[in-house]
Structure formats: C-alpha cells, structure tokens
C-alpha cells in the first residue's frame, strides 16, 4: 500500500512540475545565500584571527561553502529535471538518473543536519580559542617592536573600541600585566624603579588601562590612570562609577558576536533543509505520477503519485534487509567458490 497517495490529472501534473521548478530555483538562491554567509563568516574569523592566536577552526565556514556549492548544483539539476519531465521522451531518458539523484539529495540533507550540529557545538571551541587568544593578545600588547606582534596593539585597541569591551574577563586584567613597553619607561626615575622592583617578576604594573577602554558616553573626561585610587581624582568612587570605562570583558563581547552569527547560520540552514525536503517530496510525487500513467501515449490520463511505494515500516525493513545482504554478498560467493576449488 503506497504511502500518502495523491491522484493527478494532466493539469495537476503540469502545475506540480511548474511549481517544483520554481521551488528548485528558489533553493538555488538559498544555496547562493548560504555561500555568501559562509564567505562572510570566514572573513570575520580571519579579521580577528590575531586575538584568537591564529588558531581558530575554519571548519564551519569551509563546510558551509562546500555544502552550498553542492546544493546549488543539485538544485539546478533538479530544476532542469522538472523542466524536462513533462516531455515523455526526455522523461524516459532521465528515469535512470532519478534514483541516484534522490540518494544524493538525501546525502545533502544529512550533511546539512551535520552543519547545524556543528554550528551549535563549535561555539564552545570559539569560546575557548578566544579566551586563550585574548590572554596572549593582552600579554603582547606592548611588543610593538617584535616582528609578528607589531600590530597586536592596534588590533586589540580597535577590538576594544568596536566591541565596547575592556580586557579579557573585565578591565582588571590590565592591572595584572605590563602593557607599557620598557622603551617608554624612564628607568632612571625612582618611582619607576620602585614599581618594577615591587613585584616578583619585575614587571611595571599599574592600576590603569589603555585609552581604548574609555566609554565615550561617560559625562566626565575619561579616567584611565589610578583607577582604584579614589583620592587621585576629584569626586570619584571607583566602586560606583560605571560609565567611565567599558565594564564588559572582550571575551564575552566578541563571543556573543560570533555566537549570534553561528546561530543565525544554523537557523538559515534549517530553513534550507526544510526547502530541500519539500523539493525531494515534490520530485518523488512528480516522478511517480509520470511513471504510473496507464497510457503513456495519452497525456490526458489520470495517474497516482506517492511518497513511498510501500508503507513506512516496510520500506525501512527493505532498506535494512538490503544493507544486510550487502555485507553477506561475499559470504555466499566464498561458499560457492570453495567446492569449485576442491574439484
């Protein structure tokens, strides 16, 4: 008993073919959208790879680009098949290609599901890469004369300005490392010498932050230095002051940006999966409707279309049986060969 049977007359078949052709070309557009999203995400990752220690994983955008190209190809071919299906001669030529095409489409849907899963799971990887990368970035902020790290200061300053954040977890991360290079410290000055000698590692630590942490929305001019010393500034309490510098950490800020991109990509891929499934269902209906025409010479005759030839359980049973026999094919041959070898 076929699964979800629908009766088709000539007009219905033509309308189905036309509608399915439009749907396939919409899917090609969706594939192009996915391609541009993949390129966009890859560029965004590359732009900030310096604060991720150049070790970020490009798996998600690469897979997305590949799948979008495959989807465009499959959908374009599907559109062509729909266009040809109403011509009986072309349909008979195209019939043998249908089964492999369905298998390919199923494979594409499975890979798209994998893509959605990756979009969700790889966010953890991005978070960890960011945490580690930002730590290095802050440490190498002052090394503007070291080859390979000259632009770290610029990148980190622009990131803090653009994402409105300060430091890794928060602004106090700047207190724990030396972000002013020794080249700009007057080592003959007693104050400087005291400060350098006052900690174990001989670093020049201060309770101040770079200018890129400043919040332009603050009503008073930015206070960057002596942040924890209330008496150093008139009418200033560092515990209640919220608007002076950005309070959010850059890890959280940049991660939420990437997380929103990946979530939107995942949502759009789910939409594309639904579109592809609709395409496959439509094509199955169209092909079965054209195959079951009682009189192939008479286009006006009625026919039936279905999704599955047998019921769901039977089809699954058949597929499992086929998979089992695929494995047993060698066994039967060996049994047949053995007696021949002896004789």
């Amino acid at each position: 008993m076929p699964f979800m049977v629908v009766k088709f007359d000539l007009q219905k078949r033509v309308r189905l073919a036309q509608g399915l052709w439009m749907l396939y070309w919409t899917s090609v557009l969706a594939g192009i959208v996915l391609f541009s999203l993949g390129i966009f995400f890859k560029i965004e990752l590359r732009k900030r790879s310096e604060i991720m220690n150049n070790s970020e994983s490009h798996l998600v955008p690469n897979l997305l680009i590949l799948l979008s190209l495959v989807a465009c190809g499959i959908n374009a071919f599907g559109g062509k098949m729909c266009h040809d299906s109403l011509d009986p001669q072309k349909f008979t030529k195209m019939k043998p290609a249908l089964k492999p095409f369905f298998a390919l489409s199923c494979g594409l849907v499975a890979l798209l599901l994998l893509q959605v899963l990756l979009c969700v799971l790889m966010q953890f990887s991005v978070y960890l890469t960011l945490a580690e990368g930002l730590q290095f970035a802050l440490r190498f902020y002052k090394d503007t004369d070291t080859p390979g790290r000259c632009y770290m200061k610029r990148t980190l300053d622009m990131t803090q300005i653009e994402f409105r954040c300060c430091g890794n977890n928060n602004f106090r991360d700047w207190f724990e490392l030396q972000w002013i290079s020794n080249r700009y410290l007057d080592m003959s000055n007693d104050l400087v010498k005291d400060r350098v000698l006052s900690n174990v590692e001989g670093k020049y630590l201060m309770d101040s932050v770079p200018f890129s942490c400043c919040n332009p929305g603050s009503p008073r001019p930015c206070i960057q230095h002596h942040l924890t010393n209330n008496t150093a500034h008139y009418d200033y309490d560092h515990r209640t002051e919220e608007l002076n510098i950005w309070t959010r950490g850059c890890r959280e800020a940049v991660f939420s940006y990437y997380s929103s991109i990946m979530t939107s990509i995942g949502a759009i891929v789910i939409g594309v999966i639904i579109l592809e499934t609709a395409d496959m269902a439509g094509l199955k209906y169209l092909s079965t409707a054209l195959e079951t025409m009682a009189d192939p010479e008479n286009p006006e005759c009625e026919s039936e279309g279905w999704l599955l030839e047998k019921g769901v359980k039977e089809t699954l049973g058949d597929m499992i049986g086929k998979l089992k026999t695929l494995g047993r094919a060698n066994q039967v041959e060996e049994g047949g060969d053995a007696p021949e070898a002896t004789t």
Partner: protein, 360 residues
C-alpha cells in the same frame, strides 16, 4: 524648416511606442534610485547634524527625494501614455495631455540637472557650516549636564574615533577650550585655581586632548597630557609625536566624507539626466508623429516627427509673441468680421488708443 525631422512608418511608430514604454519603466526604476540616494544622503547628514551649525545642506537631499518621487510619477504616466500611443484611437484620449506632459517633463529634466549641479556647489556652504558647528560643539563638549547638550560629548568622541580626526583644524584646537567641566575640578586645589586665574576668561585651559583623539596605530600608549612639552615624556621623539594622535582636523575629514558621497551621487544623477533626456526626445517624436497621422487622416500612412516644427529662432520668436499677446487679450484688434465704416473706423481707432492709455 523643422528641427530633427524623421519619417515614421506605422510599424516604426508602434515599435517606438513599445520601446518608449520599456524606457519609461526603466526610468521609474531610476527615479526610485534617485529617491534612495536622497534618503541615504539625508540619513548621513542627520547622523552628524549636531556638529553642523545650520541645516541648509539638507536642501540637497530634499531636492533629490522630491525629484525621485516626481520621476516615478511622471515616468509611470509616460509609460501608460506611450503604451496607448501605438494605437491611433487610444492616442486621441491623450491628445490634449501630450503637449503639457512633454513641457512638464522638459522642466522636470531641467530640475534633475539642477540637482546634479547643486551637489557640486554645496561644498563651500558645508565647509562654513562645519567650521562653526565644530567650534560650537567643542565649546559645549563639557556641558554633559545641560539639557539639549548632554550627548554632544559622546557625539564628538564617536566622530573623532570614527573619522580618525581631532579638533576643528588640528589637535591644538582643544588647547583653547575648557573641555573638562568645573564639576570635576577640585577648586580648592592651588594648581587648579592658578590655572583658572591664568587667563582672561577664567577658563581651565590645558595642553591636553580627550581620549578620542588617540590613534591606535601609535606604537606607544597614548599620551594625552602636556602635549606642548615633549620633554615631559620619556623618549617622546618626533616620530612618536606624529603617530600619537590623529593629525587630521574633523572639519576636513567630514568635508571629504560628504564631498565624496555627493560627487558619486551627482555623477549618477547626471547619467539619469541623460537617460531622461533620451526618453523625452523619444516621447516628443512620438507625440509629433501621432499628431501628424491624425492631421493626415489615414492611420496607416507614414508621418513625420520632429523636435521643433520650425527652426529654433522662429519657435523662440513665436513663443515670445504668445507671451507678449497674453496681456493684450482685452484689446479689440482689427477684427475682419466686424463691419466698421471707414470714418467710424478712424474714430474707433482713436478711442481704442484712449482705452489702452487708461488701462496702461
């Protein structure tokens, strides 16, 4: 002697009508593009309107928006007219409208050209407006507690960060204004009081700049204070000074930004103007061809189309005469239908002249 006379067969007239229908629809799209560009320019100007002293510059985007809307309307009507013009019967419906439509489109096309030229000429007015506006903004930078000016500090900071500029002409402009509010100055401190007494107007002036002037491209952490004394900072050489802050003035930066936008817009508007001129010429040819067909009486025959019936000089003269005679409609001329005896005619002429004098 007509200007631009061309012969049209029936088939050519129909093809011309179809082509013009298509061109009119493309013009609707270009009209929408004009509208979009006007809106974009308006939004760009309004984003930074706090640092502009007057809003005269908004005239340009408003003109673009109205011209764009007019273009959409006129070309939509034109498309409808041209489609009907292929058939002589349908043309009769539009006969009376055609001439005013052509004149309207001619003036509208002139407006587009004016719009394009205006984009080039607005530069000096913009520069003046920016100079005064930025000076005003820098003066009120510190007034974050005054209603109406609370967000001036944030706007100016974001401007300096985004456009990579500092001050009006350069960073020294900040030395001449008090940009730290008195609320945050400890007026009991001798250093502060000294500095306030140091100048005539009692302003707290320093040789320092806000943080938004800092350049992230500098290899050393930003130096904002004591900028006129390089020796106050360790190893603050010429190179470091050059890279430390943004060198460009915000007036120049904004001027460049807006001039760039307006130049691209005016180029596109000029192209649209040329296209509209083409459409106008086609419509004029179609109008004259159809009118001549009706005059000849035979819809199947060939007809002539032209841009002007007589030469340019004659048309100008006849139009000038029409305008001159518009005011003379109350005079009784030598109308041949009135039977006036010769003697009475002379007296009549004298009384006419008297009438003219009275009215004059």
């Amino acid at each position: 002697m007509s200007v631009g006379k061309v012969n049209f067969t029936k088939a050519e007239r129909e093809k011309l009508a179809e082509l013009l229908w298509l061109l009119n629809w493309i013009s609707v799209v270009t009209g929408a593009i004009l509208l979009g560009m006007g809106l974009f320019l308006k939004v760009e100007i309004q984003t930074w309107q706090e640092v502009m002293s007057e809003q005269g510059v908004l005239f340009v985007p408003h003109m673009l928006i109205t011209t764009g809307l007019a273009a959409c309307g006129i070309n939509f009507l034109g498309g409808k007219i041209c489609l009907d013009c292929a058939d002589t019967n349908k043309f009769l419906r539009w006969k009376l409208v055609m001439m005013p439509y052509v004149i309207c489109t001619f003036f509208f096309t002139a407006c587009i050209l004016a719009g394009a030229l205006m984009c080039y000429s607005i530069r000096s007015q913009l520069e003046e407006s920016l100079f005064l506006g930025l000076r005003h903004s820098m003066r009120y930078y510190k007034d974050t507690d005054t209603p109406g000016r609370c967000y001036l500090k944030r706007t100016l900071d974001l401007l300096q960060i985004q456009f990579q500029c500092c001050g009006n002409t350069g960073y020294q402009d900040w030395f001449q204004v008090q940009w730290i509010s008195s609320r945050y100055l400890d007026l009991r401190s001798m250093a502060v009081v000294d500095r306030l007494r140091n100048n005539v107007e009692g302003k707290f002036l320093m040789d320092s700049v806000p943080f938004s002037c800092c350049s992230p491209l500098s290899p050393r952490p930003c130096i904002q204070q004591q900028l006129s004394r390089p020796l106050a900072h360790f190893n603050f050489d010429q190179q470091s000074q050059h890279l430390n802050l943004w060198r460009k003035g915000c007036r120049q930066a904004l001027l460049d930004h807006y001039t760039g936008i307006m130049q691209s817009i005016s180029l596109i508007v000029l192209l649209i103007w040329l296209f509209e001129l083409l459409v106008l010429t086609g419509v004029r040819y179609l109008q004259t061809a159809m009118e001549n067909v009706i005059r000849l009486g035979d819809p199947e025959s060939e007809s002539e189309g032209w841009i002007l019936e007589n030469s340019l000089a004659e048309t100008a003269r006849s139009n000038f005469n029409i305008i001159k005679n518009l005011g003379k409609c109350y005079q009784v001329d030598n109308d041949p239908n009135i039977n006036v005896p010769a003697v009475m005619a002379e007296q009549e002429i004298q009384s006419d002249q008297v009438q003219v004098q009275r009215m004059g």
